[in-house]
Symmetry: C2
Subunit: 138 residues, 2 copies
Amino acid sequence: MKTDKNKLAEIFPKGEKGSSETFTGNAYPTALVEADSVYNTIVGNVYFEPGARSNWHSHPAGQILIITDGVGYHQIEGKKIEIIKKGSIVKCPPNVRHWHGASADVGLQQLYIVPNIEKGIVNWDEPVTDAQYLINDK
Amino acid sequence: MKTDKNKLAEIFPKGEKGSSETFTGNAYPTALVEADSVYNTIVGNVYFEPGARSNWHSHPAGQILIITDGVGYHQIEGKKIEIIKKGSIVKCPPNVRHWHGASADVGLQQLYIVPNIEKGIVNWDEPVTDAQYLINDK
């Protein structure tokens, strides 16, 4: 795993390294708004070191990502990768598989919003292979 | 209105100055996620210059604020003011009046999340007077 060349802005605590069952590389998820029945919304931050990415996964009610610093990728299954960076907002519809993470050279700071959690939060699937990731990292 | 002593981080475009019908002072709201029936969630950013604040208002399904830089205030009607700053997360329950804005000396960059918008988005009320604001700005 490469060292991050850029020092990214840190708004939230870095937290603990995320599980290798759901992330490849060094990703640091931090919960900011826990599940409840008033707001029906969870919010959190993930710092992805360069090369780190989530597994493929889906959300029963979809997901909104807000990129606060760095450069990375978001891919909805069957579509081309989107390059995401500071200021980007991307959405993934309900029950559609996607993955997101840092670029190979620059890390990524991203907020996630999962709305309507009365429908469910997340279903995790298999890792994004190096071949899948590197095809995108052209 | 005082000049901002601190240069705050800008993640999103500053946008146009918000209406004096809903803000006191110089506030710059920017919509990031528009209303739709898939996510039922709106997201936006507001940059408040020092001294600027929203009017009193309420949200039929509540609101979540995420502070990305600066220092400011959040007050739920009938409760003490909360000082909010970079990294703070605050919530206001459904149908409860509140206001938020910058401190007198330092501006505020804040994301807002309004969930469950099928219940409504916002009901605007009267301005926060200088007396109400300055009591808090002790």
